[in-house]
Symmetry: C2
Subunit: 323 residues, 2 copies
């Protein structure tokens, strides 16, 4: 049983990662205004957030740069235009997907880049390619984390093998990723224990990236904190694909380290997130509950939402019949 | 630590209580159409819900019957008009507030009433009057539960004394009530242990009624289930005052007893709850997070919502300055 004292105290190792531009960018094809991004950057600094993820380092051979906003590609010069020399405590993160990133070519040595951390996202079946990426990127001088996605559909034994393989790289942190928002807090405890065991063996940290399909993104995040997980992803008002993520405002309210401040977050939600909600849709709704409880990719629910449908019973039957 | 096996199995003692008309009635002054109520009743039966709460047994001397829908008063004949003789497994519940109910006069013997359960709601400072109500109502033949509200502002020692005093009555179940939605799951575990200890001593059950101010109503409810809490309140799509309650659809998806069925709930949400949302407002929003994290009555957030305000920073300062 977790110790209530943990709720009152400060754990110095905790790192809050703002993933608004990256996971939120999946809701608007990364078309954020520069003003939004600049203000988000300044808000994260004031709020005491530890890392700000700007978006993806996506391959320009696979994706058409004219069909997405610039944060799908995260050119170093675009980041510099927002942050200058970033003489602050806020570190800069970018996500790189296995199989969708020309890392050897597109990721320059860290000394030439404003980026501090690359977060390498992989499925359980592409671990060797992921390791090649981690080796390349960490040799260039960056911090790295590894985000193994869709673990709710992976076998526990495969996961253990993957953590062992990754343990022998320079990766700094294993991320627990509840891609489908299907995990209950009791299960999260078991998963966190599995990750923490490997992390202890190899000297890594553990992180958590949750989705809100069952309204459990925040609950699973603080459950993981109680287990000893240190890297915590959140987005402003949960902005993220489908049901979205753990809300930054809830997480910052929960953490007791005085370096974190809620007020600038309230201001950003008031001035930038709430107005954005008028044109961009995300967040919990019953269609996302379906894919969450059935442990599926949210695609069917996202399509349902985009189409403006309201025949929930039909959707439920459609998802069930996909088997 | 809770056992994962509990997630796979069935606990026979669990009772699901639909509080949609009662807590949801606080959002629309109890003006539900008869069709809505009748269809909700039929849905609860199909879904395997154990109790349906119709509303309050409010004093007609304190409240003007012309200013509220009929479920604020729950006349026996109004309930009968919906349920006939209720020859089903679904039991009928009504809430009676200490100090706002003419129970001696208005509550008839159970043999003359369609009601099975009276839920007596009290604050920690009105326990003697609450005991008088429980004694009167249980002598008339009804099941009773006691819902001690706003415990996040009560002292633990006072709570222990209250549970001891109530233990000596015929009340069947102590309810943990997170009125302000301010409790975290780790704290819920401690509170549940406190209630369960008293419950074991006096042969009572324990229930949970959660609010969603921090998006933790469902998480706190399933945390409580894991601790051994049996009576679980939920409302359709969380309909309830302010940030609302634990969602019925999430709870039923979580429970594994095959007597519970999700599909009729989806249908009711599609046909009755989603259309209702066009005119009646409830559910999580940032203003409710404020009162939750600050452990306050949600009134300021409800007023803010009703007024259509969008100056969150002002509201936050107003609430802080109330101290």
């Amino acid at each position: 049983m977790k110790e209530l004292e943990n709720l009152m105290g400060v754990r110095e190792g905790i790192r809050v990662v703002d993933a608004t531009l990256r996971d939120g960018g999946l809701c608007n094809d990364f078309y954020f205004t520069d003003e939004f991004v600049k203000r988000l950057y300044l808000t994260n600094i004031k709020a005491g957030v530890d890392y700000m993820e700007f978006g993806y380092k996506a391959s320009k051979e696979l994706f058409d740069v004219n069909k997405f906003g610039k944060w799908k590609f995260c050119n170093d010069e675009d980041i510099r235009e927002i942050i200058g020399n970033n003489e602050t405590d806020l570190k800069i993160a970018v996500m790189a997907d296995v199989g969708r990133c020309d890392y050897k070519k597109d990721i320059l040595p860290r000394s030439e880049s404003p980026v501090d951390l690359y977060r390498v996202a992989t499925y359980i079946n592409t671990i060797p390619q992921c390791i090649d990426m981690i080796n390349d990127i960490s040799k260039k001088g960056y911090e790295t984390t590894v985000n193994i996605m869709a673990i709710s559909q992976a076998q526990e034994n495969d996961l253990k093998v993957a953590l062992d393989m990754l343990g022998q790289t320079d990766v700094g942190c294993y991320y627990i990723v509840d891609s489908y928002g299907s995990i209950y807090p009791e299960q999260m405890t078991r998963i966190a224990d599995l990750y923490l065991e490997a992390a202890a063996k190899y000297g890594k940290k553990v992180g958590i990236h949750a989705h809100n399909n069952q309204q459990l993104a925040f609950a699973n995040t603080i459950e993981a904190v109680g287990c000893g997980v240190d890297y915590l992803d959140a987005t402003y008002s949960g902005m993220g694909r489908g049901a979205g993520n753990c809300y930054m405002e809830n997480l910052i309210s929960f953490l007791h380290n005085p370096k974190y401040n809620l007020f600038p977050i309230i201001q950003f939600v008031q001035d930038y997130i709430n107005p954005l909600k008028e044109t961009v849709k995300w967040g919990y709704d019953m269609q996302y509950l379906f894919t969450g409880i059935l442990n599926r990719h949210p695609k069917a629910a996202i399509d349902y939402t985009k189409a403006g449908r309201n025949d929930l019973t039909e959707l439920y039957n459609e998802i069930i019949l996909m088997d």
